[in-house]
């Protein structure tokens, strides 16, 4: 799996969404599953998938599917 596929899969699993829903409009609370609980679950899942440990500032700044791609670059993960 490419990083892109892995990244998409984390969203699909965390928020029970279809991959085609994932674009720049996919933001925090746009689906009921992406609440604070879902958010932390997604972060944990990304950390496991890419073997990284995210900083608090990045966890709270992770407001959208697109923003996440930008933030993960800081951890040398190219989506």
């Amino acid at each position: 799996m490419t990083n892109r596929e892995k990244y998409v899969q984390v969203f699909v699993d965390s928020f029970s969404v279809n991959p085609d829903q994932l674009d720049e409009n996919f933001v925090y609370q746009c689906v009921p599953e992406w609440d604070s609980i879902g958010h932390m679950g997604m972060i944990a899942s990304l950390e496991e998938t890419f073997d990284i440990m995210m900083e608090t500032d990045d966890i709270i700044d992770f407001g959208s599917f697109t923003k996440g791609i930008e933030l993960l670059a800081k951890y040398d993960v190219t989506i």
Partner: protein, 467 residues
């Protein structure tokens, strides 16, 4: 004097601050009075609650006009809301959602509309009744808790006393308005003339922390999950100079985490206060004073002013010796009048006489501090919200599933004999109850253990699934 009347004395002080707006007490009172003037007589009002000024105005308008509000989360599933409307027939709904064809909008303020029932019914309210809260925010059960003005005023005063709230305290919202603990934070700070910061952002959002820092919030409350997240964030490294006091309630924080936060807070000069409460007690019954937060970590402390605890054994006899487990009983002026299952029950008076059987198993140590050890009844707490396992079972049955529910701490476990139902069960229950899918696990077993009369043997079931 009741706290609603008392608000007038804070006239020019700031009352509510949001990202974009701020209002003084005088403004909030004026807006709530104009809304109150629209209610014909004492009416039943459904308040669809968010952490916003509209909700506060609706709440105060009801209390001022002696109308009876039912506080409902604005995100409650539409079907569950429709069911509540059918069940209780409110005269008004105050909220953003246009919910129902039998209601017409008659007024709007901010993002909220006042919708009036086209055909209203006259409810018969008991004189003591002031407020209705839901027993469960997620299952949308029609079983409500009936609270009186005395309940609200007494608990508000006990909390102000316990936390030494003064007018310089400035809370920021972290819990839903309709949630008993969230409402208690709002009541106790309003009654003290504080400025409240309202936001629907959560602690996982940058906006929340920016607002907290920018508006210099001094305090917030959290359920165990809030503290688990703060722990993950590395609370010890977070720079929050304005915060002076934080509280924890809504479920049992592990002793380890409780101790960890007590120690971090001690170094940071923040008071950390663990509390214990239930909707049936108008929110909070006990607190562990900050000075004991380390030495008595894991304890819920002692009863708030005006209340007291004791323990009873399975025969209903008082337990007099320390370190013996029994059911925790609370007595105090904040114990609710009782429950309502339908609109006729709104005319009922006080059925509890100030005594609450908490359903929690607890013990007391030699120095009089209480510790929660477990639950007597079939409830679990998911992210601070009480979830009745029996209610989840009925929801599943209503949706065509054959299953039973069990659980432990914050995890809901659904057990079914139908292998094909595993995925749809999880999706359906999560969708209806808004319980996050990660907190639900569905297990398959060949045969659910039952006794001769068909009653589920839950202890046997838990053993079979290794719970």
């Amino acid at each position: 004097m009741d706290f609603i009347t008392n608000l007038n004395s804070f006239s020019t002080r700031p009352c509510v601050t949001t990202q974009n707006n701020s209002y003084t007490y005088a403004e909030i009172i004026e807006f709530s009075e104009s809304l109150a003037s629209l209610f014909v007589n004492k009416s039943l009002v459904f308040l669809l609650c968010g952490n916003n000024e509209e909700t506060l105005i609706g709440y105060l308008a009801c209390l001022k006009s002696k109308s009876i509000p039912l506080l409902i989360n604005e995100h409650l599933d539409e079907k569950l809301l429709a069911n509540l409307i059918l069940h209780y027939q409110p005269s008004y709904i105050w909220g953003t959602q246009l919910t129902n064809h039998s209601f017409s909008s008659i007024f709007s303020w901010g993002n909220y509309n006042l919708q009036k029932a086209d055909i209203g019914i006259d409810h018969n309210f008991h004189d003591d009744l002031a407020l209705l809260l839901m027993t469960s925010g997620t299952t949308g059960s029609s079983k409500l808790v009936r609270l009186s003005h005395k309940n609200i005023d007494s608990n508000t005063n006990s909390i102000i006393n316990a936390l030494k709230i003064d007018k310089l305290d400035k809370p920021i919202t972290t819990l839903p308005f309709n949630y008993t603990y969230g409402l208690s934070i709002i009541n106790s700070h309003l009654a003290s003339g504080c400025e409240l910061i309202f936001t629907d952002s959560s602690i996982v959002n940058k906006e929340f922390w920016n607002l907290l820092i920018q508006k210099k919030a001094t305090t917030f409350g959290g359920v165990p999950y809030t503290y688990q997240m703060l722990d993950r964030f590395g609370f010890e490294k977070m720079d929050l100079p304005s915060i002076t006091k934080i509280t924890q309630a809504g479920g049992k924080l592990t002793k380890e985490l409780s101790l960890k936060f007590s120690q971090i807070c001690a170094t940071k000069g923040i008071e950390f206060i663990v509390m214990y409460g239930q909707t049936e007690a108008t929110a909070r019954m006990s607190y562990l004073p900050n000075s004991y937060s380390i030495s008595k970590a894991g304890s819920i402390g002692k009863a708030v002013l005006g209340g007291h605890f004791y323990l009873i054994n399975s025969e209903g006899k008082k337990i007099e010796t320390p370190n013996v487990e029994g059911e925790l009983i609370y007595e105090g002026p904040n114990v609710c009048l009782g429950y309502a299952e339908n609109s006729f029950d709104l005319s009922k008076g006080d059925e509890n006489n100030g005594i609450l059987h908490t359903g929690d198993i607890a013990m007391i140590d030699e120095e009089g501090f209480y510790y929660i050890k477990g639950r007597l009844k079939r409830f679990i707490k998911v992210f601070g919200n009480r979830v009745s396992l029996d209610e989840i079972e009925s929801i599943a049955v209503e949706n065509g599933f054959k299953c039973v529910c069990t659980g432990k701490e914050d995890k809901l476990i659904i057990v079914t004999e139908d292998n094909d139902a595993i995925t749809p069960l999880k999706q359906t229950i999560s969708k209806i109850t808004k319980i996050h899918p990660t907190s639900i696990s569905v297990k398959h077993i060949e045969l659910i253990p039952r006794n001769e009369s068909g009653k589920v043997l839950y202890n046997e079931l838990n053993r079979l699934i290794n719970l």
